[in-house]
């Protein structure tokens, strides 16, 4: 990088500032192109007028947001009352993503703990094994899941075969199927940060707790969990956020009744039926919601930290 020459300014702080600018530049360029620009595009599109066969007309309009929040009757000429349809979809998304996150945590934490407590030479192998299924395309994995879970699928066959069930369990097209799909889609994002945290954990602390008469359960709750909390939080965010906007699992496993916000957005940009400004507006609202949820979470963490 052509940053070294400090022209004029002889003080080292000037050189430092200048090279810092150049060194940070690539990061800013990447962030600008891949994060800021798309978000700005979405923001602008959400305030434009829709073109009926997809695309936009460059005219300022609040119609997208109005459509999202306001119910103006069948002919669209009544005063605004709250439109519940999309808020319900939103609420369902939060709920589904939350359930998938808890499911991932319940399975991911013990898995991560298991890996982190293997002999050091074996750990990379276990991590590798965890990630292998994720080399397969997400779509294919989700479709396969549908085959596994359906009424005549291997899971139900097996459960009936061993006599646990008389008739197949209906899993596909339920909320639970979507949660399972989301859980499976993002499990490694839960396992890996928790694994990293548990691996750094000083197990002498667990011994100290046991030495001071704490049972295993108390040791987990009072010593291990607080120590690996940053990893757990990272894992939860990494599963929750993409689950919120996911559309593959709800589309394929949830059916029409279990629509999530991701599917709603997807539809607005698909084919001729779409409504780009509305899709953009829904995206912006999703983004804002996720940020608000994370902020509330961070606030509470900071507060809990202060009290402790």
């Amino acid at each position: 990088m052509a940053a070294g020459a400090a022209s004029g300014g002889s003080a080292t702080t000037d050189t430092y500032k200048e090279s810092r600018f150049w060194l940070l530049l690539p990061a800013w360029v990447v962030l600008g192109i891949f994060v800021l620009a798309p978000v700005m595009m979405m923001l602008i599109y959400s305030f434009l007028t829709k073109e009926f066969r997809g695309g936009v007309i460059w005219e300022l309009s609040f119609a997208a947001y109005d459509q999202f929040f306001c119910d103006r009757g069948l002919f669209g000429d009544e005063p605004c009352t709250i439109e519940w349809t999309y808020i319900q979809i939103f609420w369902r998304s939060i709920w589904q993503a939350g359930a998938a996150t808890l499911l991932s945590l319940a399975i991911g934490f013990p898995t991560a703990y298991f890996i982190a407590t293997r002999p050091e030479s074996q750990r990379p192998l276990w991590v590798f094994l965890i990630t292998i299924p994720y080399w397969v395309n997400l779509l294919i994995r989700t479709v396969s899941m549908k085959f596994l879970l359906r009424d005549q699928g291997p899971l139900n066959d097996a459960l009936i075969g061993i006599g646990l069930l008389d008739s197949p369990l209906h899993i596909v097209n339920t909320n639970f199927a979507v949660q399972l799909g989301l859980f499976y889609s993002y499990l490694p994002f839960m396992v890996l940060p928790i694994y990293a945290a548990v691996e750094r954990y000083n197990f002498a602390l667990s011994e100290a707790a046991a030495d001071l008469y704490a049972t295993k359960w108390t040791t987990l709750r009072r010593i291990l969990l607080p120590a690996v909390k940053p990893g757990v939080i990272a894992g939860c965010i990494l599963v929750f956020v993409p689950s919120m906007g996911s559309f593959l699992a709800p589309d394929l496993l949830g059916g029409a009744k279990n629509f999530m916000i991701g599917s709603l957005i997807e539809e607005q940009f698909k084919g001729n039926a779409g409504n780009w400004p509305f899709g953009a507006a829904a995206s912006m609202i999703l983004l804002t919601m996720v940020l608000i949820i994370l902020l509330i979470f961070a606030r509470q963490q900071a507060k809990a930290e202060k009290e402790a």
Binding site: N202, A204, L205, E207, A208, A209, A210, D211, L212, Y213, A214, T215, T218, R222, I223, P226, A227, A308
Partner: protein, 363 residues
């Protein structure tokens, strides 16, 4: 069951194996009530393994451990009324100092308030009351060490286990803590089992010391016994500095062994069980038990020549060559210079020792 209640800890035929590797080879020892007992040895000798077996962190492959007569080797750590001071303290980083000390009390069923008030008293005992609200990372190593001590003592364990607790401290602090620990042990009357690789530390603090090497106990005794009457090569070499000489035992009369040093030099010393006439063994003579003169003084005088004098602050170390024989290291304390002679390099002189200074070793 035999009567074991008078002992704080009794280890009976304890063996620890990890796969093919035997870390402890059938150790038996009894630690008395109120005793400051030290397990001393180089790293890998099994001393920490033995301590962790008493604490419950390692299971016992064979054998039994009794705590005041109760067999404990199958109890999980949280059910054993012993507490440990860990090598790197293992303080809970997310808790305050006060909560760290209160933790064990709370786990024993005390209410949070009771536990905290008792923890406060413990912090007073180690003079850290003003740090009660801080986190461990805000304390110095020495302070953390004292917190670890207060935390382990707070639930009033029957036995306190200390796993090289001073090894991370600098020399001055370590010396101060050695005395503090010794006083604390006397004040509380709790049996201390202390693990260290530092022989000086062991000699300073202990009532009794078990010297360990390669999973075996080499010698068990008071500091003075261990230092002055080492049983074998390992103990003599590991504890303090010594002259280790190869000798052959020429004869034994009235409990005195006549030993040949090579080059025609001879020494008599106390005979030892297990060393008979004709055996080739080692002899240990502590450098500070030797002194020099221009004429033979004692019955045990050896003729030699000064090779080198080394000034080491409190002492002068002199290296002496015996004629056709081995080398000797003689240490003269600087405070003794009035009474004891120092010779110039090259001078001929005699190295003298009183009876009992030389010790035969079972190899």
């Amino acid at each position: 069951m035999s009567n074991t209640t008078s002992n704080a800890i009794e280890v009976r035929d304890a063996v620890k194996r990890y796969g093919d590797f035997t870390a402890l080879k059938r150790i038996s020892l009894s630690i008395k009530d109120n005793e400051f007992f030290t397990l001393l040895g180089p790293s890998g000798c099994g001393k920490t393994t033995l301590l962790r077996m008493i604490a419950g962190f390692e299971d016992v492959t064979e054998g039994a451990i009794f705590l005041y007569g109760d067999e404990i080797e199958n109890l999980p750590p949280h059910q054993r009324p012993v507490n440990t001071v860990f090598q790197n303290y293992a303080l809970f980083p997310h808790m305050t100092i006060l909560d760290n000390v209160a933790f064990g009390l709370e786990m024993r069923g005390k209410s949070k308030d009771q536990a905290r008030s008792r923890a406060g008293e413990m912090l007073e005992l180690v003079q850290l009351s003003q740090f009660a609200a801080r986190k461990p990372s805000q304390l110095s190593g020495g302070q953390q060490q004292r917190v670890a001590l207060a935390r382990a003592l707070a639930p009033q364990p029957k036995v306190l286990l200390l796993d090289e607790p001073l090894s991370a401290l600098d020399l001055k602090l370590r010396k101060a803590m050695q005395l503090e620990l010794k006083h604390l042990q006397r004040e509380t009357g709790i049996t201390f089992i202390f693990v260290t690789h530092d022989q000086e530390e062991a000699l300073t603090m202990s009532d009794r010391i078990a010297v360990m090497s390669a999973g075996e106990m080499q010698q068990l005794g008071g500091p003075k016994d261990i230092y002055e009457k080492p049983r074998n090569m390992f103990v003599a070499d590991f504890i303090g500095e010594t002259n280790l000489l190869e000798v052959s035992v020429d004869g034994i009369n009235n409990g005195r062994a006549v030993c040949h040093l090579g080059g025609g030099h001879e020494l008599t010393c106390d005979a030892v069980d297990g060393v008979g006439v004709g055996s080739h063994v080692h002899m240990s003579v502590r450098p500070e038990r030797l002194y020099m003169s221009d004429k033979p003084v004692e019955t045990e005088s050896l003729k030699g020549r000064i090779k080198e004098n080394i000034f080491v602050g409190t002492d002068i170390t002199t290296i002496v060559d015996l004629e056709d024989g081995p080398e000797f290291v003689v240490r003269t304390s600087n405070s003794d210079r009035g009474n004891k002679r120092i010779f110039e390099p090259g001078a001929e002189m005699y190295v003298n020792m009183e009876l009992g200074a030389a010790r035969l070793l079972v190899d």
